[in-house]
């Protein structure tokens, strides 16, 4: 498998690492995790990764961890977990075949093969990533027309949906929505004094029971107080007039229409 593409990749760091323990330890920062270290070590065996000796790899890795610790280089926990796991795997691989099969544990050879596969895969991806990087890159190595003609020729509209952009667009707005200050327009109310004045003027006409709805002014469509406001203010004004004794009010039952009628002057009030 090795070298099927990009034969001349630079694995200097990995090579140095195996010659000289310190080089590797210093490079740990550059590695992302135990699997990357394992890959660097595995490459030093100079065999097809699929034929890798996992026992040997385990030894190499344990030696690496050992050196790192002796230099008081603090290793992240997952490096140590990997060390423990490899030590255990190695011991299982070295045991005589009739492994006292621990419950549902897969055979050690299968586990080892799996590790080799993961390393081969990661290796392939590393090489792929470098191979991609070596391709002529747009606006780095190759360039398109610097000044497309005044008349733009645009490719056909093949809309490529971008869910990430969709999500970002959504979240951006929801955020804005939340932090937007809410400034409701104050509703225009029908002033009580106006209602009172109007009702007083209407008194002479209210000589029969008349529904409140019929008395309150009708709203203008576009501006001015709403119907509800006209009704409410007229009702309030009418109650005041009732209190004053100028008006009578009547309602058959709760929520039924309210009727108003002018109160005839009482003899005793005279």
């Amino acid at each position: 498998m090795s070298d099927v593409f990009q034969p001349n990749l630079d694995f200097k760091a990995a090579n140095e690492a195996t010659e000289d323990g310190e080089a590797l330890i210093i490079d740990v920062d550059g590695y992302e995790g135990p699997l990357h270290v394992l890959l660097a070590l595995a490459r030093s065996q100079k065999v097809d990764l699929m034929q890798l000796s996992i026992t040997r790899l385990a030894e190499q890795y344990l030696a690496f961890v050992h050196r790192a610790r002796s230099l008081r280089f603090s290793l992240a926990a997952d490096y140590l977990v990997m060390a423990a796991w490899l030590a255990y795997l190695k011991s299982r691989l070295l045991l005589p075949r009739p492994d006292k099969g621990r419950g549902d544990e897969p055979p050690a050879e299968e586990v080892a093969a799996n590790l080799a596969f993961r390393l081969a895969k990661l290796d392939a991806m590393r090489k792929a990533s470098e191979a991609l990087n070596q391709r002529p890159r747009l606006q780095r190595d190759v360039f398109t027309r610097g000044d497309p003609e005044q008349v733009k020729v645009v490719g056909s509209g093949r809309l490529e949906g971008d869910l990430y952009q969709l999500m970002s667009a959504y979240i951006g707005q929801r955020r804005r929505e939340h932090y937007r200050t809410y400034r409701p327009e104050a509703p225009v109310a029908y002033a009580l004094e106006d209602a009172r004045g109007r009702l007083r003027e209407l008194l002479p006409e209210l000589d029969r029971w008349t529904a409140l709805q019929g008395i309150a002014p009708m709203p203008d469509e576009d501006f001015g107080p709403s119907r509800a406001s006209y009704l409410a203010s007229t009702l309030s004004a009418s109650l005041e007039l009732v209190k004053e004794g100028a008006l009578e009010a009547r309602q058959r039952e709760a929520f039924a229409d309210l009727y108003l009628k002018v109160r005839l002057a009482r003899p005793e009030a005279a």
Binding site: H66, A128, V151
Partner: protein, 217 residues
């Protein structure tokens, strides 16, 4: 004068003038009925051979670009592209070769939890997009590459990814151990016995630790 030469001239002019790559259909739509665009493209391509600009296919469409070996001239045009970290590059490769792929699968290949920024950067740069959801429990989101990825790296299509065929043949693009994968023979570890001691490296650490870990696994 609808001859091949005329068609070639037209395509050349259109591709020069275009602000982005054009598909065969884009071209055909602007050319006289019945024009053999594919043949003209091939002829043009040869004509450009060895010139300062060349005709290439990217993301299934065609564009004219400067020859790669003249990159050194283009100091003024060069945009310093946002440098991708090693982690981001590796992630991009994994997505390109395995798409559609879930975040968990990416992490499994790399053996590390994807740091938050890695995928974001690729998504933001428009090199990677969310493709949909896997029909498995949890219905994880899957990722794939965009046309812009192909355009950036000058690839006609995904099959053109370097080494793709070899990797496929070797089963390296499967997510699980392919059936033919050889199991390493532990007996080949000839020098196992003389390093036995190194097992102790954890300082004879409690067997419980090993035990625990195995338990977790």
């Amino acid at each position: 004068m609808n001859d091949q030469h005329h068609i070639e001239r037209c395509i050349e002019a259109l591709l020069f003038a275009a602000a982005e790559p054009l598909s065969i259909n884009d071209l055909a739509r602007r050319l006289p009925e019945g024009a053999d665009v594919v043949e003209a493209i091939q002829a043009l391509r040869q004509r450009f051979d060895g010139r300062g600009v060349e005709l290439v296919e990217v993301a299934g469409r065609w564009r004219i670009q400067t020859a790669a070996d003249l990159a050194f001239l283009m100091t003024e045009e060069r945009e310093e592209p946002r440098r991708l970290s090693k982690a981001a590059q590796e992630t991009l490769a994994i997505i390109a070769y395995h798409q559609p792929v879930t975040r968990a699968e990416i992490e499994a290949v790399r053996g590390v939890q994807a740091s938050k920024g890695t995928l974001d950067v690729l998504l933001e740069l428009g090199l990677v997009r969310m493709r949909g959801r896997r029909r498995t429990p949890g219905r994880p989101v899957t990722y794939g590459t965009t046309d812009m990825f192909l355009e950036t790296f000058g690839l006609a299509n995904l099959a053109d990814l370097p080494g793709m065929t070899d990797m496929k043949a070797l089963g390296l693009l499967d997510m699980n151990l392919p059936p033919g994968f050889s199991v390493p023979d532990p007996s080949l570890a000839s020098d196992a016995s003389d390093t036995e001691d190194e097992l102790d490296l954890e300082g004879g650490d409690s067997p419980e630790f090993v035990q625990d870990f195995v338990g977790d696994e």
